[in-house]
């Protein structure tokens, strides 16, 4: 193991392992290439979704999220995630429990029923921040054996990676840069498009409350990216991936459209640029298909 090798607990959540395992495989693979070891969190559950369970009952959401944090604490590791929902949920819970001693006490009463205790010894990171800040752009750049020189990319952030910015700490939510940097490091062009920072439409239980209505948001987002001349959309969130990718099939059925606009999670896009095959990145087992331009 090199000196810089570092271990993290990978908090999988639901959508990554159970719908888009390509995101799980590509992320682990790339991290390993850069000397970052991934450990599995045995017994982890749904994060649970901050906008969904947070909307139903905060008092249930919090101990379930805290239980997940305990698993990483028991492993003595910090966490990384591949979904903005997981990021939002676990980071928010960690933050609240560290800030409010009484809340921590109350939560630990629940966790104590099965012998667990939140101590406040872990930290929650997003995988794209590890790529950007721990591995770093210089090292990433050296490994881009299949640069994406003529590819125009629409960056989609999703919401809970950037906001609330007072908790996330990635600077202004109106002028983000991390995803842009990661796209540009592959040689691709990051293209601005109308309402780039808009939500995919899925969060907060909106997708479940009214799927066709939530797909209207998604459709507008995709149309804006396509009209700006983008070849694909790259994002950091498994839940957005579901809405943006499978949502295209749902839209085509519901609205009679013919969308097939390539959707890639950040590590899937970086993976292709590092010479991994689309099979290794799980891009041939999803709804939208990859054009030759991204694969050559």
């Amino acid at each position: 193991m090199s000196e810089e090798a570092k271990e993290y607990a990978f908090f999988l959540g639901c959508i990554t392992p159970n719908r888009y395992p390509g995101i799980e495989a590509a992320t682990k693979r790339i991290f390993k290439e850069f000397g970052i070891e991934t450990k599995e969190m045995v017994g982890a559950s749904c994060c649970p979704a901050p906008g969904v369970f947070g909307s139903f009952d905060m008092h249930t959401w919090l101990p379930v999220a805290a239980r997940n944090l305990c698993i990483a604490e028991e492993m003595g590791l910090e966490i990384y995630v591949t979904c903005n929902g997981c990021y939002g949920s676990l980071q928010e819970a960690d933050h609240l429990l560290k800030d409010h001693p009484k809340l921590k006490e109350k939560t630990n009463e629940v966790l104590g029923k099965f012998g667990r205790e939140f101590k406040g010894t872990t930290k929650v990171h997003h995988s794209i921040v590890i790529l950007h800040d721990v591995i770093g752009l210089d090292k990433l750049k050296e490994r881009m054996t299949k640069p994406m020189n003529d590819v125009n990319v629409a960056v989609h952030y999703g919401c809970h990676f950037l906001k609330p910015s007072e908790v996330r700490g990635h600077g202004s939510s109106e002028t983000p840069y991390i995803m842009e940097d990661l796209v540009k490091v592959t040689g691709a062009k990051e293209v601005d498009y109308k309402d780039k920072l808009m939500c995919c439409g899925a969060g907060g239980g909106n997708r479940t409350a009214d799927t066709p209505q939530s797909l209207e948001w998604t459709r507008q987002k995709l149309v804006n990216a396509i009209e700006a001349g983008c070849d694909c959309m790259v994002h950091p969130c498994a839940f957005c991936h579901l809405q943006l990718d499978r949502g295209q099939d749902e839209m085509n059925k519901a609205f009679g459209t013919t969308f097939n606009f390539p959707i890639l999670f950040a590590t899937q896009f970086l993976g292709l640029a590092m010479g991994l095959s689309q099979t290794e990145c799980g891009l041939d087992i999803q709804t939208t298909t990859m054009p030759e331009k991204l694969l050559k």
Partner: protein
């Protein structure tokens, strides 16, 4: 039960702190939240109006409007509110109170059923196990869905907070009581 505002401060205050919830009363109806709200473009949900109604204690009107559930919790309004109203957190807490009062759709309640059965809102099934194998992963991730004793811990949490009762969950059928047979909602 006090006024809606008092209930918001009580229920949400325990998690976020009371001051966080008290920001509801700082809203001056400027409309910046609604102006940047993606939901407002596609639905009848109006953030500014919701806070006015909450200030005015219009509990039933708020709880009975389906729009309450059309906020995606994108936090755009939260970032932009010039008065520091903790908008998205207030919306989630108002929804908590609505859910407690029985205003929760069957599809929303079903999310709880999946978590009670597997620990996941989106569980793995046979087709997805094949996808996992295709990318070189184990058929099942080592989560609550794989380990029963781990799942039982999540179930214990739901029992303790009475989430099972809130969605009318039947432990014998491991499903919603009302969802048996014909759909009621």
């Amino acid at each position: 039960m006090g006024t809606l505002y008092e209930d918001i401060v009580d229920h949400g205050g325990e998690v976020f702190g009371k001051e966080h919830m008290e920001t509801l009363m700082l809203c001056v109806q400027c409309g910046k939240c609604t102006g940047g709200c993606p939901s407002g473009r596609y639905t009848a949900f109006r953030t500014r109006k919701l806070f006015r109604m909450a200030q005015e204690d219009m509990r039933e009107e708020i709880f009975n409007a389906p729009e309450l559930w059309f906020c995606s919790t994108c936090f755009t309004c939260y970032e932009r509110c010039p008065k520091g109203v903790k908008t998205t957190d207030l919306i989630r807490v108002i929804r908590n109170l609505a859910a407690k009062a029985g205003h929760m759709s069957v599809p929303h309640r079903m999310i709880g059923v999946y978590v009670l059965k597997t620990g996941h809102a989106v569980p793995v099934g046979e087709p997805q196990m094949k996808l996992r194998k295709a990318v070189g992963l184990d058929e099942m991730a080592p989560t609550t869905q794989k380990y029963k004793e781990q799942l039982e811990q999540v179930q214990e949490i739901f029992r303790t907070t009475h989430y099972d009762a809130m969605i009318d969950f039947d432990w014998n059928t491991m499903n919603l009581r009302e969802a048996e047979g014909d759909e009621k909602k």
